[in-house]
Subunit: 242 residues, 2 copies
DNA sequence: TCAAGTTGTCTATTATAATAGACAACTTGG
DNA sequence: CCAAGTTGTCTATTATAATAGACAACTTGA
């Protein structure tokens, strides 16, 4: 790992080391509670100065992924939330199944009008009035994802206020008489978190995110809501059932 | 976007700007062929020096995502491969449907033994002999993903040689009398590319990847192969059907 | 208790990132 | 043709990343 790599990648060396260690944890090469190799040994494997390793470990410690114990070693502290993508998916159930407490928090809501893209997803006319809800979802106190959700303002008048009160999309839909719904078309890709989402997800800049665009339909297949969600990749793992 | 952000994120400022512009292209804020805002304007929106913007644009140009024209402006050149995750998914068909030519390239094959994890995926005993195939898949000459594939060495003797000859997993399975198969459990997450994969995918370090762990089964549901694939996130978009 | 191995902290030096300003080279539309 | 707006290139300065070495503080196991 020479200096040239950094020059062309725009990623600091210590960050590459931190990412490598984190990947090792995600892979299971280092399990929760395990002791990492010593700073000197890590420095040798990455061909990097020990101070650079220390900075990498400090960054991981800051995020609660490892914990350094003076004189003893540095230990692992992490793991990911398993997130099944079934046709009937409820955030609260997934988090509950992991033994954690689900929370929702409203960031803001606003009126909006359908772009061509949004109108197609929701089966409306371009320019149709929409309600936009920006929200964050957490497991215990750890932010898992931020979502931008759009609903028809005509079908769901005052949806923003209802969400503010219930802080749950499922309860919001129930309020309008929708007692069940199903996931429709879903697109998944990955990207790098932007400054706004980084603050909301409590992530450092430059971290990977899973970007999910999805539409939920009623049981007749009619679109109800469409969402643009950004998940902290280090905190979740999507499970696609066969 | 102040200096402090960079200090704590380990990502260079120019890289954040480049990622922002790339996100704009992925989002559709800038379409293929569009002219980007001027360097001065970009510098103002990101609150960054024009030289920093130039470096960001140079990096994007290097990767063929934008093209600068002196005196005129900088123009967009990119887009993503739509990759449906159906139960019957064939790389060649997906790439062909996009009007591009699918290719496979063998990196290496080796004998391996099943870890507890692998044995569970494949329905074998821990320690069972496996064939490991490391391969890269391309659309035209653009690398899309690298995959590590494991098969039972007893059920598929000499699988490495067969893959080297056919360069296709579908043809390999056909060689052993498997004429159809289905995707089984699939796990998706995101991460940052490591140095080895970066070279194979022709990606700069620090770019996001989609990490997919999947098992393919025969029509009776018996596991055939299990794969660990890393996709260049900037080149694909997974579509999960309802 | 002690030696070996660990993390923590300090000083110093060099390479690179980012800023700043000026001007050249070129394109476009009026 | 010309003026306005664009990208390209140069010099210079400052802040930060990364390296290097030394030693302190602490833990562990023999």
């Amino acid at each position: 790992m020479s200096m040239q790599d950094t020059a062309t990648s725009g990623v600091a060396l210590w960050r590459l080391v931190a990412d490598g260690i984190e990947r090792g944890i995600a892979d299971g090469r280092f399990a929760a509670g395990d002791k990492l190799p010593g700073e000197m040994e890590i420095a040798e494997t990455y061909r990097v100065n020990r101070h650079t390793v220390r900075r990498a470990l400090a960054a991981l410690a800051e995020r609660g992924i490892v914990r350094a114990e003076r004189g003893s070693g540095t230990y692992v502290e992490a793991q990911r939330l398993a997130y099944p993508l079934r046709s009937r998916t409820r955030f609260s159930e997934i988090v509950g199944a992991d033994g954690r407490e689900p929370h929702g928090r409203l960031i803001e809501t606003s009126d909006d009008v359908a772009t061509r893209e949004l109108s197609r997803e929701l089966g409306l006319k371009p320019g149709a009035p929409l309600v936009r809800i920006e929200a964050i979802r957490l497991a215990d106190s750890t932010p898992i994802c931020v979502s931008t959700t759009w609903l028809s303002a005509e079908l769901f008048p005052g949806a923003g206020n209802v969400f503010a009160a219930t802080r749950s999309m499922t309860k919001l839909l129930e309020h309008y008489g929708v007692h069940d719904y199903r996931r429709g078309a879903t697109r998944i890709t990955a990207g790098i978190v932007d400054a706004t989402d980084a603050a909301r997800l409590d992530l450092p800049l430059g971290r990977p995110i899973l970007v999910v665009d999805a539409t939920d339909n009623d049981l007749g297949g009619k679109p109800l809501v469409t969402k643009h969600s950004r998940f902290a990749a280090e905190r979740v793992e999507f499970l696609v059932e066969p």
